[in-house]
């Protein structure tokens, strides 16, 4: 239900880290998603596609891995 606000948080983390690392473009964002959080991957993907923006994250793709428990983290980002 709150996938959009969570994705906004994800992208804010991604952009901050990319800038710190001196990246000009992020190609991939990998999320780990705990089943216990009852989040919907489709909604997260939808929010990602809408919220990702220039100049850093606009061409990024999203990969999600579901695990047991309540973890919800950005595992890694890939870019240049």
């Amino acid at each position: 239900m709150h996938e959009v606000s969570l994705m906004a948080e994800v992208l804010s983390i991604v952009e901050t880290v990319a800038q710190e690392e001196g990246m000009v473009a992020v190609h991939k964002v990998k999320l780990v998603l705990g089943e216990g959080l009852l989040l919907m991957p489709d909604s997260l993907q939808f929010a990602f596609d809408i919220l990702k923006k220039e100049p850093i994250a606009d061409t990024a793709t999203l990969e999600m891995e579901t695990k047991e428990g309540r973890v919800f983290c950005v595992e890694y980002i890939e870019g240049e």
């Binding site: 983390i13 990246m23 959080l37 919800f72 983290c73 240049e80």
Partner: protein
């Protein structure tokens, strides 16, 4: 140059940081803060009205009302003569720690013993967002059915106390008390459970006594720090 950066960073880290800051602030003023969560219509506001009525001669109470829209609940609570502030989330399904942090600026915490945050009526989303509270109360009403504990486990798993409301309706609804207790035990084995009717007052004494005791504990905690 292509590279991969591992961060393992929790997405809710931002909310957690705000929550810890809130908790410190509540502790500093020795205010016990309660986050009240239930589905819409379970009786959060009625429970709160009754609780305030019974408590206000012992404690100074303040309330933060979270709703998607309107100030109806805040008006009801303010009619009890306690400090009430309203947060309208304008569509958001839960309160988060940052919203609370912003609104407590308008509350004189030093003039309170107990602050109750009535979350947005929703049995799913509020569970994931720590507001910086000391106690999380999960409220269920008999009309909803005992199966909600297993259907929406997060709220009950992460609560500090469970209240079953509307026990005056037990003769009229198919609510299995025994199964309710078993299912709570499955998701949160040692949690205290109170059964009451906020409407007619049955069972309120036990809940009020417990809450007064928790406020006392919070005060002692602040003094010993």
């Amino acid at each position: 140059m292509k590279k991969q950066v591992y961060l393992q960073k929790s997405v809710l880290h931002g909310n957690q940081a705000w929550a810890e800051q809130n908790r410190k602030l509540f502790q500093k003023h020795s205010v016990l803060t309660v986050n009240l969560i239930s589905s819409p219509g379970a009786g959060k506001t009625t429970l709160l009205e009754r609780t305030i009525k019974d408590l206000k001669k012992y404690l100074r109470v303040g309330v933060i009302e979270g709703d998607v829209a309107t100030t109806l609940d805040a008006e009801k609570i303010a009619a009890q003569g306690v400090k009430t502030v309203q947060i309208n989330t304008h569509g958001a399904c839960h309160l988060d720690a940052k919203m609370i942090s912003k609104i407590v600026e308008n509350i004189q915490l030093s003039e309170l013993d107990l602050l109750v945050i009535e979350n947005v009526g929703n049995l799913v989303c509020p569970a994931e967002f720590d507001l910086g509270e000391n106690l999380r109360v999960a409220l269920l009403s008999t009309a909803e059915g005992e199966d909600k504990v297993l259907k929406y486990p997060s709220v009950f798993e992460r609560a500090d106390v469970v209240i079953l409301n509307k026990i005056d309706l037990l003769p009229y609804v198919a609510f299995n008390l025994k199964r309710f207790a078993q299912e709570i035990k499955k998701v949160n084995p040692n949690i205290p459970i109170f059964q009451l009717s906020a409407m007619n007052g049955e069972g309120m004494v036990q809940w009020i006594t417990w809450l007064l005791n928790e406020c006392e504990k919070q005060k002692q905690k602040t003094e010993s720090d």
